[in-house]
Symmetry: C2
Subunit: 151 residues, 2 copies
DNA sequence: CAAATAGCTTGTATAATGCAAGCGATTTCC
DNA sequence: GGAAATCGCTTGCATTATACAAGCTATTTG
């Protein structure tokens, strides 16, 4: 007699997580999207860490495949796209916040005031804000792209 | 007039954190030490992910250099060493717990009952336990190595 | 309509990782 | 107590990932 559920991934969640972001760049793209309001290829590229163009393209592709981000046509320009975290992508919020908390406490690195407040206050006020913002952006982009398609 | 403190690392804490564990293996060694009670080279090597010998040696060296782990002579054998997380190393606890929480919720990966309980209950009961255990182990290893030195 | 720009892709060099073998210091076995 | 096995690495080499520069296409600007 076996267990009824055979879909459980027996691996350690740490290992699973590292499949996703066990590299130098993925979480920096997530950070840009989650906390710095960046949405476009060129904006990610402009981050001070200096990701290369091919690596950025590769990470965006992987994040798309894993359903952590979505890609929309940019209402302002036909040659750029807008990337947005999905709800699943925002599921990385707590990990990101703990990483930032760690970086601040041990190394006195800097974050935005918004993040700083979230780290010090605890709770998930910021997460709720991010979820709302994201939903609003997504709605706007979807209606725009529909309108665009009917032109 | 400048700020008095010139030691602040201006980089984003995410980037700082990725310097430390932005790779495939470092956090798996931390997991072994923090939650699975592994202490020796051979035990890390035996983890199911299958780290290579040179990579393991390299990561242990880096973790030592960064003060996240300590190395003690093994009281039971002159050819092995015992590695222990420092308090600074245990500072990664919250990050690890959030990573495991993420892995469990989205992918139903498995953790030890002890970790599962910690994830579900919240609070830092487990962290306190780990800190105590670690201190006890460290004390034992230090007294043993002193006794050994006087032989 | 020419030049510039955004978002990539495509080489190619370098660095990180994976794999297997080897090596010195113990420890075990007979 | 000597030979063989074991442990904790290190070293060499093949493969993969990343960095850097250039190029290409579609769009947009002047």
């Amino acid at each position: 007699m076996q267990t009824t559920d055979t879909t459980i991934d027996l691996r350690c969640p740490t290992s699973l997580a590292l499949d996703l972001f066990g590299d130098r760049w993925t979480l920096l793209v997530v950070r840009d999207l989650m906390f710095l309001g960046k949405r476009r290829y060129g904006e990610f590229l402009a981050s001070p860490e200096g990701i290369s163009t091919n690596i950025l393209a590769d990470r965006l592709k992987k994040l798309l495949q894993q359903g952590l981000i979505e890609k929309f046509p940019d209402p302002d320009s036909a040659r750029t796209a807008v990337y947005l975290l999905t709800e699943s992508g925002l599921g990385l919020y707590s990990i990101m916040l703990e990483i930032m908390r760690w970086g601040i406490s041990d190394h006195r690195a800097r974050v935005t005031p918004e993040v700083d407040k979230a780290i010090k206050e605890g709770g998930d006020t910021l997460l709720l804000t991010l979820l709302e913002r994201n939903q609003a952006e997504r709605a706007a982009l979807q209606s725009q792209s529909l309108a665009g398609a009917s032109n």
